[in-house]
């Protein structure tokens, strides 16, 4: 080590050490993320044939993209549009629900540990094949809504596209709740970052719990709300039950790659929209406080 110290200045020595620490991750990124990413972009513009001797590619330009976006609607639109519609409803539900539960679970009451154990169960299995099996058995539905004939009501009063979205949502509503496990955790962790002295001060000033929630808890949790929004979008778009994911398969490398890229761009668009919306809300909220 000593010759190193003589040769380099402390600053460059530090940067050398830092590079050594990050090197494995960067190598892994290049090998397992960047290379496949570039290759899939390349494949999406080519016809790919896997032969015994190797992989043959023929450039086809934007043909696959044009085919998916313009002519062959079945591959993308039939599944994607209902899915996006469903996502637009699911995301706020997950966010509000997990916020509510996190606030409740943060209170001190007898039996809290027991409830916490139950509410973290989803974090443990929600990722697996098991959930798929349960959905297939129809265990994800809300039976009482069916008993109340909610389906016929919705079909009568809403346009078909939205009523079928809502019905699909109802039939898997429990799963929506199952997918909010990590979000509850994030909100709970976020709640710990608000110092309790703020709450004490508010109580002494005579603030009622309603305004304490809106004026202290909610603003304090806003960064976590954003984090949860990002997490939910990412998680939702990689759901195992997501219709698009099954379409990306080894049957046709070129088309599948183009589809995956279009899908990824849509995810990015969603995230961008979320970030934009969030910064708007944040700005107007802080502007409102200044007045």
């Amino acid at each position: 080590m000593n010759w190193l110290r003589r040769r380099f200045s402390p600053a460059s020595l530090r940067s050398l050490e830092g590079s050594l620490f990050i090197a494995p991750w960067v190598l892994g990124f290049l090998a397992f993320v960047a290379f496949p990413l570039g290759y899939s972009l390349y494949m999406s513009f080519h016809q790919v044939q896997i032969t015994v001797t190797g992989i043959k590619t023929m450039p086809v330009g934007f043909n696959y993209y044009r085919e998916i976006l313009m002519s062959d609607g079945g591959l993308l639109y039939d599944d994607l549009v209902p899915f996006l519609r469903q996502a637009a409803i699911i995301i706020p539900i997950i966010l509000i629900y997990s916020l509510l539960l996190a606030v409740l679970l943060n209170l001190k009451f007898p039996g809290r540990t027991l409830f916490r154990v139950v509410f973290f169960l989803p974090v443990i299995f929600a990722s697996g094949q098991v959930i798929q099996e349960l959905t297939a058995q129809g265990e994800g539905g809300l039976a009482f809504l069916k008993e109340m004939k909610a389906d016929t009501f919705l079909q009568t009063y809403l346009p078909h596209a939205w009523s079928s979205t809502l019905l699909g949502l109802i039939s898997s509503f429990v799963l929506v709740l199952w997918y909010s496990g990590v979000q509850i955790l994030i909100f709970l962790a976020g709640r710990q970052t608000i110092p309790s002295s703020v709450y004490e001060a508010a109580k002494i000033d005579g603030a009622d719990p309603w305004s304490i929630f809106w004026k202290i808890t909610l603003p304090g949790l806003t960064p976590f709300l954003f984090l949860n929004l990002i997490y939910t979008v990412v998680d939702l778009f990689t759901f195992p039950s997501n219709p698009i994911i099954a379409k990306v398969n080894t049957e046709n490398y070129g088309v599948s790659s183009a589809l995956a890229w279009i899908y990824f761009l849509i995810v990015l668009l969603f995230l961008g929209l979320a970030a934009l919306l969030f910064s708007r809300i944040n700005k107007s909220a802080s502007g409102g406080r200044q007045q």
Binding site: R14, P24, G28, L37, E139, P209
Partner: protein
């Protein structure tokens, strides 16, 4: 403390002021609504109702799974039996275990998820530490790359990865899942790096500065000082990684499609595929459901046991490490 005392005194004053009748009313009101909103009886009842309802929603599928798999033919066909079967019948579990080659798949799943969890814990800690505290060229670019990896759906890179691993001759082995974990990638690797980065950036800098002045090298510092004090973050990442790789069916299904011996999650989907095939042939469709439920249960049983023993770590560890931000 002083504030509290003042508050108590104020409350005493306000209680002594009203007339006796008013005091009674106020007592009832305090009992129902509470002096603070989260202490009142009404609120408590309401809260327990909500919590019990949602807890039931979470537990119902698990309960359903456990009761269905022990129903014999009589209980399955009897419409009056919904939850409690007439007798305990363990044949479905045995059959599911046989169809899934349980012992073998269990061994593969355990070895796979344990090795991924250990590798990811160490490699993501190294990367997370570098992102939190060290300086290296192009740091901003690599951090953007990390965020990119986090939000990218795995489907974008799955096909070229399959081709790449095929070239390397790794298909139908566990290597495509284990090797990325060595480098801090793999299933949810980016999330774990972010967790460690967050954790290390909350630690006081004085520790490292003191060790530096003593002339300790970066590696000694990291392995002797930083890793031992980051135990809570490591446990959280280890447990999450273990459980998620255990459950994951996507990567094994993609990389080990033709393998003879597969992890449990793949053997469950093979089981349900073969049951569906039998049902089409007009076979034992009544038993398909309990067998599938038994298979699912056999998969989550080890995870449930781990969770039972470590739930304290899951719950408190996540809060304490400040998983997020």
């Amino acid at each position: 403390m002083a504030r509290l005392m003042i508050r108590e005194r104020l409350e005493k004053i306000s209680f002594t002021l009203p007339a006796p009748q008013g005091r009674l009313k106020r007592g009832a009101k305090t009992l129902l609504l509470g002096r603070e909103a989260d202490k009142g009886l009404l609120f408590r009842i309401f809260m327990y109702l909500i919590l019990a309802d949602t807890a039931f929603i979470y537990l119902k599928p698990v309960l359903y799974m456990m009761t269905t798999m022990v129903k014999d033919a009589d209980s399955l066909l009897d419409p009056s039996v919904i939850w409690v079967p007439r007798s305990l019948y363990l044949g479905h579990i045995r059959e599911a275990a046989a169809l899934m080659q349980y012992a073998q798949s269990f061994g593969i799943s355990l070895a796979l998820s344990l090795s991924i969890a250990i590798l990811q814990t160490v490699s993501c800690a190294v990367a997370g530490y570098a992102f939190a505290r060290l300086s290296f060229p192009l740091k901003k670019l690599w951090f953007a790359a990390l965020l990119f990896t986090f939000i990218m759906p795995p489907q974008v890179t799955i096909l070229p990865s399959i081709l790449m691993f095929k070239e390397l001759g790794w298909l139908n082995t566990v290597l495509p899942m284990v090797v990325p974990a060595v480098f801090g990638h793999g299933l949810k690797g980016a999330l774990f790096v972010l967790i460690f980065r967050q954790f290390f950036s909350t630690l006081p800098k004085e520790l490292e500065e003191a060790a530096r002045i003593d002339g300790a090298s970066m590696f000694r510092l990291f392995f002797r000082v930083m890793l031992p004090i980051s135990r809570s973050a490591m446990v959280v990442v280890f447990l999450f990684s273990l459980v998620w790789s255990w459950n994951d069916a996507y990567y094994p299904a993609m990389y080990m499609l033709g393998a003879e011996h597969v992890p449990l999650s793949v053997s469950l989907s093979r089981l349900s595929a073969s049951l569906a095939g039998e049902a089409e042939g007009g076979g034992m469709s009544v038993f398909a459901e309990p067998i599938k439920m038994a298979g699912s249960f056999l998969i989550i049983l080890p995870v449930l046991l781990i969770y039972g023993f470590t739930q304290r770590w899951f719950v408190e560890g996540v809060e304490r490490t400040g998983l997020v931000e």
